[in-house]
Point group: C2
Chain length 194, copies 2
DNA sequence: CTTAAGTGAATAAGGCTTCATTCATTATGG
DNA sequence: CCATAATGAATGAAGCCTTATTCACTTAAG
């Protein structure tokens, strides 16, 4: 085979880390386990990452970058707020539902430390919440959504429902597809309980 | 002082653990730190708990027992489903909002391991979700809630919104009171976005 | 005096990280 | 073209530190 292109091992290490951390949890996973699955020596990890924690950060960054890249592109093509919201729900649930190992990490492992939540995951979540709040505000201007609703509050509520569905799906081992819940979620968010 | 009544040090250790684990996270907190804050020797911990993990379990059990005890008593006195839901929201937000350190643990630390989630926290959450689903079903029979709604699904959605509000409150260091969000949450859950 | 509770120094295990060494690949020079 | 040097990615054994847990000993109650 040709010479390994730059980043080949970097990716291999991250892929291995997703699997191992999903199975055992971050603190039960040793650097040696990740190295073994990635097919590299223990020391090689430190050519690509400063320390063990940085693996987790990079994991999350890679996942979020993919998420945002796809989200932005697809969202621009849609006009109405109701349709935008529906598409975000579809996207959120189908992206989380795509890779169970990665989902375990985003729904469970990444929440293990308030320090981490502060510094990384929550700032990214904040960006996401801002997008959601924008869609709510747009819907209010269109007259599609109630005006007596704080967009920032509504954004959190919407996120909360999707996030709980995702966590529920991760923890129940049933073989349902997460994105199948999208219509139900959309209906609930639009109409409420009554 | 008189001989410590049984459970005195047990409680002291749990109280200390809440504070330390909230500050540093479970894995950064050593048994020695907990012992020091509790004012006992390291070895004393092992007279009351089998191992470090058991401290975390007991912490959670104690918190949930208090939650459920208060919830059941107060809920029985209420008739209508809409009022019941409103009271659950009040109760959930005000209990979580009562003790920030404990909230950090329930909203962040307890979610660090899928193994733990499976064995403990999620079974308790499942009981809670069952109560919520019951209220939704009752509301449907009363004609107060839409009939085309899976109560189990709706329960998760309701929980998701409250949980996200709680997490948001924990991570934002503002001095707002969490229970102030209760009316907004109730309105959103009943009416949705439009 | 007996017994249970409490102590905290010692232990042992585990794992992150380092670094001297290897080796395939590339550059240099004659 | 070949021989030699240089490079730096990769290795993996082991150092070093952290920390959960134990246990021989002390304290104090009844």
């Amino acid at each position: 085979m040709a010479r390994n292109s730059t980043g080949m091992k970097y990716e291999a290490i991250l892929d291995a880390a997703v699997v191992e951390i999903a199975r055992r949890g971050y603190y039960q996973t040793t650097v040696a386990m990740i190295a073994k699955r990635a097919g590299v020596a223990d020391g090689t990890i430190y050519l690509y990452f400063g320390n063990k924690e940085e693996i987790l950060f990079s994991l999350f960054d890679r996942a979020m970058d993919r998420f945002i890249a796809r989200g932005k592109a697809e969202l621009e093509a849609i006009g109405g707020a109701v349709e935008k919201l529906g598409h975000i729900i579809d996207l959120h649930l189908s992206l989380v539902g795509q890779d169970r190992d990665l989902a375990i990490i985003t729904q469970v492992e990444l929440r293990h430390s308030i320090h981490f939540m502060d510094q990384f995951s929550r700032t990214k979540v904040a960006e996401y919440l801002a997008v959601l709040a924008g869609v709510v505000a747009q819907g209010q201007q269109e007259g599609a959504f109630r005006a007596d609703l704080d967009p920032s509050f509504a954004a959190k509520a919407v996120f909360g429902v999707m996030d709980e569905m995702a966590t529920d799906w991760v923890l129940s081992r049933r073989n349902t597809r997460l994105e199948n819940r999208a219509p139900e979620v959309a209906a609930f968010l639009l109409n409420g309980l009554r």
